[in-house]
Amino acid sequence: MSDPIKLTVDGREVTAPGGQLLIKAAEEHGTYIPRFCWHPRMKPVGMCRMCLVEVEGPRGKVLVTSCTTPVAEGMVVHTKSDVVKKAQEGVLEFLLVNHPLDCPVCDKGGECPLQDQTLSHGPGESRFVEEKRHFEKPIAISELVMLDRERCILCARCTRFSDEISGDPLIEFIDRGNHTQINTFPDEPFASYFSGNTVQICPVGALTATPYRFRARPWDLEAVESTCPQCSVGCRVSVQASQNQVLRLIGVDVDATNQGWLCDKGRFAFEHLRAPARLSTPLVRGADGELHEAGWGEALDLIASRIGAVIAERGPAAVAGLGGARSTNEEAYAFGKLLRGVLGTGNLDASLGDDPGAALLAGVPHRATIDDLERAKTILVWGPDLKEELPVLHLRVRRAATALGADVVVVHPRATGLDRDAAHVVRYRPGEGAATLQRLAAGEGDLAAVRAALDTGPVVAIVGRTGLAESADLADAVAAFALTLADAKVMPVARRGNVLGAIDMGVHPHLLPGRVAASDAAARAALAAAWGCAVAVPGRDTSGILSGMADGSIAAVLLLGCDPVADHPDRKAAAAAFDKAPFLVSLDLFLNESNRTADVVLPVDTFTEVEGTMTNLEGRVQKSNRIVPGVGASRPVVEILEDLAARLGGSIGAGAAAIAKEIALVAPAYAAVSWEALDWGRGRDGIVVAEGPFTHTPERRATDPSVGALTLHLGRVLYDGGTMITAGPSLARLAPEPAAHLHPDDASRLGFAAGDRVTVTGNAGSAAMAVAIDPTLARGTVYLPFNLGASIGNGLEVKVEK
C-alpha cells in the first residue's frame, strides 16, 4: 500500500490507500459491492464475477472485477449503473442455473451469501427451464466435512484456503467448464487440522461440518463472542447455541490473533461439553471405597472439615493445590487466594512441568506479540511443532513466511508443519540440544548460513519445549541466545489455554497475583492488607508437591481442572504420588486418571458456561463469555471456592465480576484490564498486559547429558487422548494410534520394519506399540507422541526391542 489517493465512487470522492483493492476501498467508504469468491484474507481470483463495476477509462466505461482492480488516482467508478446492475443480475442468474435451490433443507439457509445477494442483487426469477446439473450428494470428504457439489458455485475459497493459508492443499478443482467440481484426491481425505475453516468461508451450503449438519437454523441460534480455551493462542470465537446447547463455533476475524481462522480442535472440541461422561453432580467417596453422588452441602462440609483437620494437625504446609491452567483468570485467582490466603499454604502451581518454565513464561523480557510476526524478517522456531500444539500460531508463522517474506528457521528433532515453508531447517537429536545451540550461536559449519539469517531483524523467536524428554533449561538457553540477536523479541510458548493467566493470577509458589515475587515480604503484606488475611510464604511447585504427596508431607490436595497423572512429563512419579494420595479434592468436568482416587469430585461449569478472562501466550487478556448453563448440578468454580472459603472461615470474593475488579486492584500488571473495556471498549481485541514487575533473565545454563544410542523425542499431537478430544464423537476418532517412530537407518540397523510390534522402554516403564518409519527424524531418535497415552517416562534414554 502506498500513499493515499483520491477516487470517485458513485459520484462521491473518497480517499483510499494507493494499491488497495477497489472492492475493499468501496466497502470502507460504505459502498458494498456484492461478491462470492473474494475473501479479505486471501488472494483474489476474480472467478465469480459478481463484483463487476464500471470504471471510466480512455476508451469509455469498462466492466472490471473490483476484487482484482487496485484503486488509482482519479479513478471514476460506478457500482450501481444500469450496466453494472444487469451484469450482476446476469451473474446471479448464471450461478442459480445449476444451483439446486434446496434452501429449505440446506444448513446455510438463513446465513447464505448466495441467498442474501440473490435477494439484494438478483433478477428475481430465472429463465432457465432445462434440467440442472446433478452430482451424488453429499459426499464425505473427511470425517468432519461433507461436500455437496450441486450447491457449489466454484468460488475457490476452500481451495485457496487449503493452499494459501493452511498449506495442505488436499482439496482441488477437477474437470473443466460446466463439469468443474471440487473434490479431494483419490484415497486422500481432506484430513486437515484446519478443514472447518473451509466450511465457515463457503459462501453456499456446499461444505458442511458433520457436527452441525441439520442441528439448527441460523435464526434459532444465539451467539456470544468468546475466547477459545483449547490452547494458549486465544483465538476469538463466536459461540453459537440453541436451546441451551452449544452447536458450533465460528472464528471471529481479529487482526491481532486468529484473523478469522480456527483449528478443528478449537472448532469442534465443544462436543465434550455435553458428553454423557461429564460430571453433573458432586461425588463423595463412601465407606465402600466407591464414589457416590452427593449434595453440594455434604460435599463441601466434608472438604472443609477434612482440610481443616489437616491444617489443625499438620499446619497449612501440608495442603497443596494444583491446576488452574484451563480455568479463567478469575477462577485461577480465586484458587490462589483460597490456597494462599484462606488456607495459608504456599504450595500451589498451575504449571505441570510440561512447559518451558513459569519464570520464562511470565518474566521474559522483550516478549513478542503474535502480531510482531507481521513485521518480522526472521522467525526462529525452536519449540513444539506449532501445527500440533498451537495450530493457529502455526498459520500466522506460515503467513509470515509465505505472504510476508519472512525467513523462518525451524529447529526440531523431526519435520514440523512449517518445514516446507522454512528458509532453514535444523535437525538435532534430543540430548544434543545444548551442543546444537552452541554450534548455531557460533555459526559453525553447516549452520553458518542459519546463523547469518538470524542476524536480519526484526527477529521473533518462538521458544518452547520441542519435546518433554528434553530439559526445560534448553528453552531458557534458546531464549537467552535469541535475546542476543539484533532487534529480537521472544515468544515463550506453552500449550495449555490459560497457563500464563493462571501464573499471572498467582497460582505459582513464587509469584503473587500480577507477577509480583512472593518472596517479597512487603508485597505479601500489601496483598494481605487487600485480602484481609495473611498471605503464605513461597512453598512447593508441582514437582515438590508430587514428591510431598509421595513422602507423606502433603496431606491434602486440591486439583482445579488438572490431571497430573496424564499430563506431567514424569507420569510414573505422578501416579506414585497419587497412589499415596491423602485427602484429594478435584474440581473437574470428567473423571480422569488423577481424580479416580479422589475423596471428593466437584462438577464445575466451564467454557461457554462462565464469564471471565483468559491470558494468551503473548499476555493478551481476552474475555470469555457465557451462553449456556452448566450440566446438572455443576456450578461455577468461583462460587464453589467461595462456599468452601466460607466454611473455612474466609472469603475469596462473591462472583467472577467482583473478583475481576479485585484483580485490577491488586495485580499490578492487570491494572488496566476491566470486563467493561474488554466487552465494550478499547479492549475488544484483548488488552496486552505490560511486562513485569517480575522479570526473568534467561540463561545459557543447559547442558547435554551423556546419552546412549537412542534418545527419546517426546512430542505431542493435536488430537490426543485427553478428555476434551475423547469425550466428543467427532474428534475422538481422529486421534492416531501411538507408534514408535524411527529413522529408516535406525530401523534397518535394529532390524525393524514399519508395523512391527515392539516394546519401547524408557526410564519409567515399557509400552508395546507398532513401529512407524519417519525419514525426517534426526538419526538416533525415537519419536513417541507423549499425549497418546503410552507411558514410559520422560528420560532421554530409550530402548526399542522386539
Partner: protein, 428 residues
Amino acid sequence: MTDRILTVRMEAHPTDSHTMARYEATGGYAALRKALAMKPEDIVAEVKASNLRGRGGAGFPTGVKWGFLAPTRPRYLVINADESEPGTFKDRQLLERDPHQLLEGIIISSFAIDAHHAFVFVRGEYPRSARRLQQAVEEARAAGYLGRGILGTGFDLDVTVHLGAGAYICGEETAALNSLEGRRGEPRIKPPFPAVAGLYAKPTIVNNVETIANIPWIVMNGGAAYNAIGPEGSRGTRLLSLSGHVANPGNYEIVMGMSWRDLIFGIGGGIPNGKALKCWIPGGASAPWFTPDLLDTPVTLDDIAKNGSMAGSGAVVVMDETTNVVAAAWSIVRFFSHESCGQCTPCREGTTWLQRILERILAGQGRPSDVDLLLDVCDNISPGLRWPPAQTTICPLGPSAVSPITSIMKHFRDEVVAMIPGAVTAGV
C-alpha cells in the same frame, strides 16, 4: 515481388522439407548466422520496421510486443503452438513440414529478446507436430544451433517442446503459461501481462508459430522488404485455412488485399455441387460471420475489422445455402461450452445454457421467448453485444461463443424464428 515466404520449401521438397539436411541445403540457418552478428536491438528494430503482426488471432504488432518486456532476467520465449480454433490448421503444416524454419525463428527471436530458454506449447492432439519439432531440436542441438555457445558466439539457448493435454483454452497465452508451470490451464487475471510477469513470473514473450516462422525471412531480407509486401496493416504473407463448402479446401499462403470473391471462388474453387454461398466465417470460430454482400471487400486485417469481424487465426469456414445456421451455431457454441475452463461464472454457465437453448430449438421445442433469451444470455456474457466485444469474463472465450448467435440473429433471424413453434417472424 515475393508472394510466398513460409511454404516455399515444403512445396518444392514435399518429402523431406522437415529435415536438417534439406533445410540447410535451401539456405537454412543463414539468417541465424546473420542475426548473431547483429546487435539484438537491431533485430528488434527490423521486426518493428517489418510491421509484422501476430498470427495467433489478435494481430498485435510483434516488434511492439517485444518492446514491452520488463528489464528483469531471466526472460522466456514461449511459442504458442496450441492451434485449436475450429477451422484453423495452418500451424500444424508449419510444424510438421518445416520445423527448422520455426526453430530458426525461435533462436533469432530469443537472441533478440535475450531469452535463454524457449518453450513450444504444442497442441495435445498434434503428436506428429511435436515429434517433428523435437527431432528438429535434436538435430539443431547436434549441429550447434542450440545449446551452449551457439555457432561459437556467447549465446546460449535451450528449447523445450511441451505437448499440451487437450484444452483449447491453453491457446490463451496465460493459460498456456499456467499449463507449462504444471497448473490448471486457466487464463490469468491481467495485468500483469506476460511481458512483465509471465512464465514462472518472469518477463515472457508469447508468439504464435506462424509469426515466429517469418522472422528468418525478415532478418535475411530486412524489415523494409517485408513491409513492402501486401497492403498497409496486413504486411507480409499470411496462411489461411480454407474449409467448409468450398471445392478446394486447404491451407493457402496469400498476400492479403485480394477480395473475398477471389479467395472463395478463385483460390477456393467456389461452392461445390452448384450450390450458392450462404455465409462464411472470416477468421475462426470466434469471429462474427460474413454474408455475400461483403464478397467484394478486401481480405485485410483492417477491412475485416471495419466490417465487424476479425481475421483471427486465419480460418475461413464457408457455408452453402443448405446450411442449417442454428445447427452451425450450436456446433460452435457446444465447442466453446466444452472448452470453457470453468473459472468465470458467465462463461461456465452461460455457454452451456446457450448450447442447451439451441438444442431445444433444434429439437423443435423452442419457445417464442427463446429468441430474446438467447440474445440476453449473450448480453450477460458480452455486454452490449458490441464488436470488438466487451466481456464480463477474464478471457475472451465466453464472448467467442456469442459471435455465432449474434451472427445468426443478425443475418438469419427469420430462419431461427421459423424453427420455433408459435414464434412470429419479424415483418409478417
